[in-house]
């Protein structure tokens, strides 16, 4: 079976900084992979390249065997790939529900309708339903600018879920989310994508989350893969402990 994501020999440099150094990685369908790594190891860069935001200096990236070489984030998104962002990327002046409504109209739409009211076709209900799943019903009609950082994070994730992606990439979904919420957040994500047996790649610094939700862990360090495999094994790896997870884990 073709892997959902197949990365071959990808390199990326920013000046002297090596953000990806001959990365190769296959992710089969349905797997939940956690990317861990020191700060600046290249996790976000990896996500950026996979989604077409950055072009690798060398190497290839294929999604279900299709090379995404020159594709823009929009065209990658249309292939059924969604992501969330380390720093939430939202429409600050729009309300939470409107943010989701935009995401909903982006699904499958090659052209947007002039006439169809933004809240028609159950779009609004769907937005409310998604917000409800994250316990944010109250926030529906408040502009993002009024919302706290953690809430923004949740809405950012909710937007990524709208498309029911075949590959979902989450960049630090629980950082800034309060302790009470973080497991719930992950549960909701898993729940939201489960019906389609979606593949999830999530960048995470919280090892509780990693060990609880990941089928596989990939540890990055200075653009290289330090370790890749079963969570238990990777988290025990001495190099991983030294550079990433620290002694107490």
């Amino acid at each position: 079976m073709i892997p959902v994501l197949s990365v071959r020999g990808v390199e990326k440099r920013f000046g002297a900084v090596v953000a990806a150094d001959a990365l190769s990685l296959d992710i089969p369908a349905g797997q939940r992979v956690s990317l861990i790594g020191a700060n600046g190891a290249g996790k976000t860069t990896f996500v950026n390249m996979v989604t077409g935001y950055l072009k690798p200096d060398a190497g290839s990236i294929a999604i279900e065997g299709m090379d995404i070489g020159r594709r823009s984030p929009r065209n990658v998104a249309r292939l059924g790939i969604s992501r969330s962002f380390q720093i939430p990327q939202l429409f600050i002046e729009l309300t939470a529900a409107e943010n989701l409504a935009v995401a909903i109209s982006g699904v499958g739409a090659h052209s947007l309708s002039f006439f169809s009211p933004a809240e028609a076709h159950g779009r609004h209900d769907k937005a409310l339903e998604l917000l409800g799943r994250f316990g944010l019903t109250e926030m529906a009609d408040r502009p993002i600018s009024e919302l706290a950082g953690g809430v923004r994070k949740l809405i950012d994730i909710a937007m990524a879920l709208v498309r029911r992606p075949k590959l979902l990439l989450l960049d630090e979904p629980t950082s800034g989310v309060s302790a009470e919420e973080k497991f719930a957040t992950m549960d909701r994500v898993i729940h939201a994508v489960a019906p389609d047996a979606s593949t999830i790649v999530f960048v995470e610094h919280d090892m509780e989350i990693v060990s609880r939700y990941a089928d596989r862990v990939v540890a990055f360090y200075q653009g290289r893969i330090l370790a890749d495999g079963d969570p238990q094994d990777v988290l025990k790896d001495p190099e991983v402990r030294r550079y990433v997870t620290g002694g107490s884990q």
Partner: protein
């Protein structure tokens, strides 16, 4: 559902505004015609501004519409007002279709300055074209309506007033529908964060282009009105100060409602005219102070005098809808 006015109510309002012209003194009729035509182009600017781009070169389409109509009128003797408006809109729209895709990738000041540059290139070309009267421009004949020629000046003025108010009114209704639509919401999203829009699978350039063309159509039609109202056209139509003034009308109005745009452009014309009459030596000063006062005391524009704070209204209707009141035609 309580989300601004129903389109039917708006149509009624437009009709009322048209009939109201009967009661206006003659000199205000042509003023109101100009105000309506300025409102139309400013409305286009509002449409475009919702994508986060302010055009400082709407004069380009204004002139395209005006010159297109004037040339056709002089060449074929086509004087029908409605036909002229359509020609103007088409001229503006076609040019918008050509330019829109090229310019959609620019943003902020660069978008503004590029539109300005393009309009100034047209200005330069027109100034050079002695066949079109160069910088002095040329005149066209009076418009007619459905074969009727109006010789009585009051009737002629009222006809123009009616056509321009109805057109602007319908443009306003169309804009309201647009603002509430999927596309309208996506436009706001593009303004906020076009990267995320792209990540959602929507083409930000395309959204901008569509809004750009709509603004160009409005500007072209507005050019046709300006031409009909003054029967003269010159390259000043494409000059940057002309474009700038339309932006100012839009800002003064406060992006909130079509009626506000109309009122703002009317107020601007009146202040300018009366200060020129009573203080011919310092009318610019008066106009400047007026602008400052409006910006200072009505930070959300003239429209906020009666449209009310978007946010407060939102709260009142919070549970039921995600209405975008900007579009409310009152």
């Amino acid at each position: 559902m309580k989300q601004g006015l129903h389109p039917l109510t708006m149509i009624a309002l437009v009709a009322a505004a048209t009939l109201f012209g009967r009661a206006l003194p003659t000199w205000t009729l042509s003023l109101a015609t100009i105000a309506a035509s300025n409102a139309l182009i400013a409305l286009g600017i509002v449409v475009l501004a919702r994508t986060g781009n302010v055009s400082f070169g709407q004069g380009l389409f204004f002139a395209a519409g005006g010159y297109g109509v004037a040339l056709i009128a002089n060449a074929w003797g086509l004087t029908d007002a409605v036909a002229q408006v359509i020609i103007g809109a088409v001229c503006g729209g076609l040019l918008g279709l050509v330019i829109g895709p090229l310019i959609a990738r620019y943003s902020g000041i660069f978008f503004g300055m590029l539109t300005l540059a393009l309009s100034m290139v047209l200005y330069g070309a027109l100034v050079k074209t002695t066949a079109l009267g160069g910088s002095d421009g040329f005149n066209v004949g009076r418009p007619s309506l459905f074969g009727m020629v109006f010789t009585d000046t009051r009737e002629a003025d009222f006809m123009l007033y009616a056509v321009s108010v109805v057109t602007t009114g319908f443009a306003g209704i169309a804009a309201t529908i647009l603002f509430r639509s999927e596309l309208g919401l996506a436009s706001l999203a593009v303004r906020e964060n076009n990267l995320r829009v792209e990540y959602l699978g929507i083409s930000a350039n395309r959204v901008i282009t569509i809004n750009f063309v709509i603004a160009a159509v409005f500007a072209g039609a507005s050019g046709a009105f300006a031409l009909m109202a003054q029967r003269h056209i010159d390259p000043q139509f494409a000059y940057w100060t002309t474009s700038g003034e339309f932006v100012f009308v839009a800002v003064l109005a406060g992006y909130q409602s079509v009626a506000a745009v109309f009122v703002a452009s009317m107020a601007l014309e009146l202040v300018r005219s009366f200060s020129n009459l009573y203080l011919p030596n310092t009318w610019q000063l008066v106009l400047g102070v007026f602008l400052l006062c409006v910006i200072l005391f009505l930070p959300r524009g003239i429209g906020s005098l009666w449209v009310g704070n978007r946010r407060q209204k939102r709260r009142a209707t919070a549970a039921t809808s995600i209405a975008t009141e900007e579009g409310a035609a009152s």
